[in-house]
């Protein structure tokens, strides 16, 4: 894979987190171009034309999201950068935060300008202590350089950026829970409608964009929407970051042009499964997405549509690779435990269902599974799916059901023999 890096272009450069290095590599020129030469509506059109889609997991077109913000609202508008990266198997945003914070800040400024917000927040996951410090320092640098503050570039446009640390809840990555938390409340998702574009932070029009989405903006402004849209597939444009972990020779964060063959990516770019083991399953988009079997990977490309056609989702791009030494019961149980632990407890199906599934997975894993357990989990996950306030319910239900559907004989053997038949651990 030889392609120009957009998102990772500054990664690996010495002191890439400093303003001096960022500026020396063309940093904040896009911001200046936007403020000096572009009207907000032109900026929104440009982003729409680029085909950029939200990189937090849902893949919603970014420009369209901005255009939902009412222009005539008398209320203040807010731009929020979602840096609450917590999806299992995902660590792409952290890399950008720690090594290229100014790209995120520049993207945040551009997006804020697009919706004419004068206060932008960067909500960073509580556990990313170093990242928060780096971001705060970077914001300070950008303030001192006049990129943030009053009357930016003499345009009369004011913008403040506030870094806010979360307290360590997965659910606060969900945009409305993030807003509740930012408001000082309990990190509970809000019932929709109304949507954040009209009733977001403190009831004001708000856009929440993922770190990676925002970090792509400076490049798009610099090179133009057409250059970005020239990459990728018809509906999935540009490049995307993938966090590859698990049983893989070269784990790490990769930037891949949308539409790149999944199998080729794993085998050639990531070096394949090590130690002569065979591939058993891959989660393509973070812990909440359905696992894929090796044979399902054959024709899958790394773009939203192709992965969806294979029965999973691109999600956050957290690729978790499992070789044939992996006990799928244990893997499923592990994921179920995560969701049971992180369920916020607001709505009934998720609050009760996630724990119920986790308890059943746990007993199967520990040799106490019963006939009927698998169908029960499938039924519970079906009862959660689509019936909850936020996508968390689906995120817990989908992987649970997928593990059972795709590796059912292994689960049945586990129940019948009351022990693991795969792993020797």
């Amino acid at each position: 894979m030889s392609m120009e890096k957009l998102l990772l272009r500054n990664i690996g450069v010495t002191d890439s987190h400093t303003l001096a290095v960022y500026q020396s590599r063309g940093g904040y020129q896009s911001w200046e171009k936007v403020v000096r030469n572009m009207k907000p509506v032109e900026l929104i059109e440009e982003v729409k034309a680029s085909g950029l889609r939200g990189r937090g997991g849902a893949g919603f077109p970014t420009g369209m999201k901005w255009s939902f913000v009412p222009k005539d609202s008398p209320k203040p508008k807010y731009l929020v950068c979602n840096a609450d990266e917590s999806e299992p198997g995902t660590f792409k945003d952290r890399l950008l935060i720690e090594q290229d914070p100014h790209a995120i800040i520049e993207g945040t400024l551009i997006a804020a300008y697009g919706i004419q917000s004068h206060t932008a927040f960067i909500y960073i996951r509580g556990e990313l202590v170093a990242g928060a410090k780096i971001l705060e320092r970077a914001v300070e640098e950008a303030c001192r350089a006049g990129y943030i503050g009053k009357n930016i570039f003499g345009s009369g446009y004011d913008l403040d950026v506030i870094v806010h640390r979360g307290a360590g809840a997965y659910i606060c990555g969900e945009e409305t829970a993030l807003l509740s938390s930012l408001e000082g409340g309990r990190g509970w998702p809000k019932v929709k409608p109304p949507f954040p574009a009209t009733h977001g932070l403190f009831g004001c029009p708000t856009v929440v964009n993922n770190v990676e989405t925002l970090a792509a903006l400076p490049w798009i402004i610099e090179r133009g929407a057409a250059a970005y849209a020239a990459m990728g597939t018809e509906k999935s444009k540009g490049t995307k970051l993938f966090s590859v972990s698990g049983h893989i020779s070269r784990p790490g964060v990769y930037e891949v042009e949308m539409g790149y063959p999944f199998k080729k990516f794993l085998e050639e770019d990531c070096g394949g499964v090590p130690n002569g083991r065979k591939l058993k399953g891959v989660i393509p988009g973070g812990g909440s997405m359905p696992v894929l079997r090796p044979e399902e990977l054959e024709k899958v490309n790394l773009d939203y549509e192709s992965v969806q056609a294979a029965g999973s989702m691109l999600g956050s791009g957290g690729v978790i690779v499992m070789d044939d030494s992996t006990c799928m019961v244990r893997a499923a149980s592990n994921i179920a435990r995560f969701y049971a632990h992180e369920s916020c407890g607001q709505c009934s199906p998720c609050r009760e269902g996630c724990h119920w599934m986790e308890k059943i997975f746990h007993r199967i894993e520990h040799g106490e599974g019963q006939t009927g357990d698998l169908d029960l989990i499938l039924n519970i996950s079906g009862n959660i799916m689509g019936n909850t306030i936020c996508p968390f319910g689906d995120a817990a239900a989908m992987p649970a059901a997928a593990f059972i559907r795709k590796f059912r004989p292994e689960f049945e053997a586990h129940i019948a023999e009351k022990r693991c038949t795969v792993s020797t651990q």
Binding site: A169, R186, V191, P193, A340, H341, E342, S343, C344, G345, Q346, C347, S348, P349, R351, E352, G353, C354, H355, W356, K359, I360, R363, L376, N383, G386, N387, T388, I389
Partner: protein, 421 residues
């Protein structure tokens, strides 16, 4: 608002734009089961019991937060809807102790009712239930059982939105979520016991009513609260001719869905220690019990011997009592000034939500029946204090603290004892 036309289970309903499906259904007489939705509180959407099918929408939608739209087709009885109700009930019950035999809510519990209506199957949950606190005292009137709680947050929203006192909050996460007092607060606002009424299950119970009587034995009589002049509509609920509790009755013009704690528990005065149960007469050394004949004779003698007298009647008297009082006084002491006792009290912002400054429920009724003097009660009182009127017949009020400290009239500690009753 423009009306829109929708169908609910094929039935056409015309309703104002901006209303929700659950409101439209209620108007059309279609019951959609729900826990967290309450017409006087904000939408929480957390119980998921009101999920309904909306034609042309792939996912089920919560009726409480879905606004009606022209031509919308709502299905409340489709197989998908019935299945999800069953599922939600199963979820709500997996960690519920099912301790109905010892639960005060039994008989008026929405978990019981909806379970019988929509589920009726044995739970498939056979693992360890989550345990929670069984008897946490939230305040003077309310006690909390965490295991029975379904986290609908009605109580939390009540304290946020109606009383604006924020005593309650949800703490912890997942299936360990529970309701708790926020920081060191106590649930003692003037409307606190309403959280018991809006709790759809047995999580919040009334410390006063708790364990007294099973609700299906209660006889319910619609009435009006005698606690103050607001006149909140209540249901007097009795068992074996004793009042077991007051419950609010909905009247949007007066008290909406609520009653204050003072009114709710004021029925205890009927059986409390300060109520006169036999006539007492003042002799040397204090009050002594006597017969009604003797007491009435003493009143008659007192009034007849007085050159002039005043009549003061309690604002708690009925119209009929006031009428008879006026008639009696006009006959015995013609021309004597009559007035209904009136005392105002200071109220906090929270008390003002329902409580009136005037504690007597029928001041106006008494005056309308002719118990009324020129200048009003205050002026008559001044005359009495100045000794301008040598005698007064006081009915239903304890102006001089004769019966245990003058509770009703603590505002007048300087009352002249020259005046005989």
């Amino acid at each position: 608002m423009d009306p829109v036309k929708i169908t609910i289970d094929g039935k056409e309903v015309v309703i104002a734009k901006g209303k929700t499906v659950i409101q439209a259904a209620a108007e059309a007489g279609v019951a959609i089961p729900h826990y967290c939705y309450h017409s006087k509180l904000s939408i929480a959407g957390n119980c998921r019991m009101c999920l309904v099918e909306i034609e042309k929408m792939p996912k089920l939608q919560i009726a409480c937060n879905t606004q009606v739209a022209e031509g919308m087709g709502v299905l409340t009885q489709s197989p998908k809807v019935l299945a999800v109700r069953k599922a939600v009930l199963e979820f709500l019950l997996i960690n519920h102790p099912v301790d109905c035999p010892i639960c005060d809510q039994a008989g008026e519990c929405q978990l019981q009712n909806y379970y019988m209506e929509h589920n009726r199957e044995a739970s498939r949950f056979e693992l360890g239930k989550v345990h929670d606190r069984k008897k946490t005292i939230f305040g003077p009137h309310v006690i909390f059982d965490g295991e029975r709680c379904i986290k609908c947050t009605r109580c939390v929203r009540f304290c946020q939105e109606i009383t604006k006192t924020d005593e309650l909050a949800v703490i912890n996460r997942g299936d360990h979520s529970t309701i708790a007092l926020f920081d060191d607060s106590v649930l003692d606002n003037p409307l606190s016991a309403n959280v018991v009424d809006i709790c759809p299950v047995g999580a919040l119970t009334d410390r006063d009513f708790r364990f007294k009587v099973r609700v299906w034995y209660l006889q319910k009589t619609p009435s009006v609260c005698p606690g103050c002049s607001t006149g909140c509509n209540i249901s007097v609920e009795t068992y074996q001719n004793r009042i077991a509790r007051f419950k609010p009755r909905i009247n949007e013009a007066v008290n909406s869905h609520w009653i204050c704690d003072e009114g709710r528990y004021c029925f205890h005065e009927l059986t409390g220690g300060e109520r006169l149960t036999v006539p007492l007469i003042r002799q040397e050394g204090g009050l002594v019990p006597t017969t009604w004949d003797n007491a009435l004779q003493a009143v008659l003698a007192g009034l007849r011997s007085a050159k002039a007298a005043a009549g003061i009647m309690s604002g708690r008297s009925t119209n009929e009592e006031a009428f008879l009082f006026a008639k009696l006084m006009k006959k015995l002491t013609p021309g004597s000034p009559l007035e209904v006792c009136y005392q105002e009290r200071e109220l906090s912002e929270n008390q003002k939500i329902l409580m009136s400054p005037d504690r007597a429920p029928n001041f106006r009724g008494g005056r309308d029946m002719g118990v009324r003097a020129n200048g009003g009660y205050e002026s008559l009182l001044q005359k009495l204090l100045a000794g301008d009127v040598p005698a007064a017949y006081v009915v239903g009020e304890d102006l001089i603290g004769a019966n245990g400290g003058g509770r009703r009239c603590r505002n007048f500690p300087f009352w002249s004892s020259k005046i005989s009753v």
